[in-house]
Amino acid sequence: MWVFVAALLLLFWVPELVRAMGWTKFWILFFTEVFIWSLFAVAFNLLMGYTGLISFGQAAYLGIGGYTTGLLLKKIAGFPFALGFIAAPVVSALAALVIGYFCIRLSHIYFAMLTLAFSQIVYFTAFKWYSFTGGDNGLIGVPVPAWVQDPTFTNYYRFVLVVCTVGIFLLWRIVNSPFGQTLTAIRENPERAGFIGIHVKRYQLYAFMIAGAFSGLAGALITLNERSVYPDLAFWTRSTQVLLMSILGGVYTFAGPIIGALLLLFMDADITQDYPEIWQLFLGAVLVLILYGLPGGIVGFMQSRDVASTDDAATRLRKSMGEFQRKFWYLFAAMLAFSGFFLVLKTPSLWVTTLLITLAQAVIGALLFPWMLGRLSTLAQGWRLVFLLFPLVPLGIHVLLRTPPSGLVIIVLWALLIHTYLWRAEVREAFRARPRAEL
């Protein structure tokens, strides 16, 4: 709890930090975008992760929310700002009610296709209706209060932070409420959920509306941020982007989509800056790695798999150890692939050298790690310390090879894996029990 409050306070003062450190305003804008997309992704995941409804058209509500605020403020002179802003989630929820009414009649892929179809209807309406939405020229120059147009972006950054925090907090309350638990039950087994007295379709519709409302709120924030709206806001690529964020972070966790939004936007900014042409390729590769290697997403990867309740302490430890080793190797492979790929990209002529460097790392790792992991399995305290400090090695290599900052993601994951694992109850107990057993 206090960690969250501290993190929020820290985030609140980011603009001051950026100014004090002399960094560019890019970071303020970057975090503004991260907050908005986090809200959007968490709202989307209420459908995907919690209710088990995969929507391919969530961008429709981003667009409806964005256009609602944009049109109200632009078309009606003197329209109150607060009202124009609040209207976005309301109108989006109503739109979701109508669209959802038809969509939830179908299930699985048919549901997904129908949501996509409706979102394309929204997109083309905005795209073609020149007299009302401005068509593909968009709606430019949406009037916003003076405090939003602050040249340092600080006010708007804080506004977005507060709105998104409140939005995400409400969604957090919702998923932990009886309603949220009922949605999870529907995801797990709709037939059974019906026969504990739940009107499944109606609950799905409620979830669809709530997700639509918060998506619309995110859309309004985007409109105010850019002071204009374009049909692109409702384009299907936005729907897939939010899907990617959720999968990347992990759909069965609340924080997953937030982590996913942060990482995806960070990697996008980082890779696009130096290698704009390969961003899509890189994204595709990451997606394949996630789907095959970490089906629970990044947050799911950090959590342990469910150990059966009937397992005794020794079995639990053995299972955890096996899991730890698998994940350790997986991250090692990911790091080699990442650094090798970008070294070749940076200086293609030196590909032989790169190959040799990567090969050398692979050989050293293949010889060293089994031994290290073996030592850790003997539960010697010294080796625990060695492992806690271990992430410094890949960090050093990363700095030495000057791979793009996105590589840090792998290293941070590695460090988190080691630390969460070594502090996990059964492992901590085992390390503590051992010296006593020796006595």
Binding site: S177, P178, T182, E188, G194, F195, S309
Partner: protein, 246 residues
């Protein structure tokens, strides 16, 4: 009369799954439906619980016509059900599996902002206690052993405090010991709660030891109905069913 099924018929594209079946269950009774595979037992259950709508005929609960009422309403009216394939919420904890059903029964499922964790603790634990799963409360439902999952399913069904419980093959896939202990458990719970039971079963020993009334269905029709003794003496039944089993 608690449950009355009147001459219901259901066909699937020309195949008559259930034909003119009538059936009554009295309050407090332990009634059983037996019949070979494909006799129409599960279809009959699906008709009673609203998962299927009969082509003809009517179904009454306490003289209230429930024909064509959707499943979630039927559940709210007091019919509980376990399914033939294990039917739990696999990724929810054992506690949550039952709790979500208790909350639904208490009409609290629409509470949007109250934390669910602390709600209905007492009721949920009472049910877990009754089905013998209190020690497993925090385990993930899907990781339980098969027998435990069946018990959990029973717990979910009990959470809506049904008057009548429909159990579709409660001992399917169980070893003889598991079968015996499950039947004993169901019997105890039914007595404690004053539950009416209607179940299908393939194990003849179980049927003739616990059922007070047996309905034999064969090829979608009722072949015989009555007390275990009457059914055992029935020539038709011996020919088509018991003969095979013996």
């Amino acid at each position: 009369m608690l449950l009355r099924v009147e001459r219901v018929t259901k066909s699937f594209g020309g195949f008559m799954a259930v034909q003119d079946v009538s059936l009554t269950v009295e309050k407090g009774q332990m009634a059983c439906i037996i019949g070979p595979n494909g006799a129409g037992k599960s279809t009959l259950f699906n008709l009673i619980t609203g998962h299927l709508v009969p082509d003809r005929g009517r179904i009454f609960l306490h003289d209230r016509d429930i024909t064509g009422v959707p499943p979630h309403k039927i559940c709210q009216l007091g019919i509980g059900r376990s399914f033939q394939r294990t039917n739990i919420f696999p990724r929810l904890s054992v506690f949550e599996n039952v709790q979500v059903a208790v909350l639904s029964h208490h009409k609290k499922s629409l509470k949007l902002f109250t934390p669910a964790k602390k709600l209905a603790q007492r009721e949920t634990y009472a049910i877990l206690e009754q089905v013998g799963l209190a020690d497993e409360a925090q385990s993930v439902g899907g990781t339980l052993a098969y027998g435990f999952q069946k018990q959990l399913e029973l717990g979910i069904a009990l959470a809506s405090e049904p008057e009548i419980l429909l159990l579709d093959e409660p001992t399917a896939g169980m070893s003889p010991q598991e079968t015996a202990s499950t039947i004993a458990l169901i019997g105890t719970i039914a007595r404690e709660r004053g539950l009416t039971l209607l179940f299908t079963e393939h194990d003849m020993d179980v049927v003739f030891s616990v059922a007070e009334k047996i309905t034999v269905v064969h090829q979608g029709r009722v072949l015989a109905e009555g007390s275990p003794d009457e059914v055992r003496q029935n020539v038709e039944v011996q020919r088509v069913y018991l003969g095979e089993a013996a």
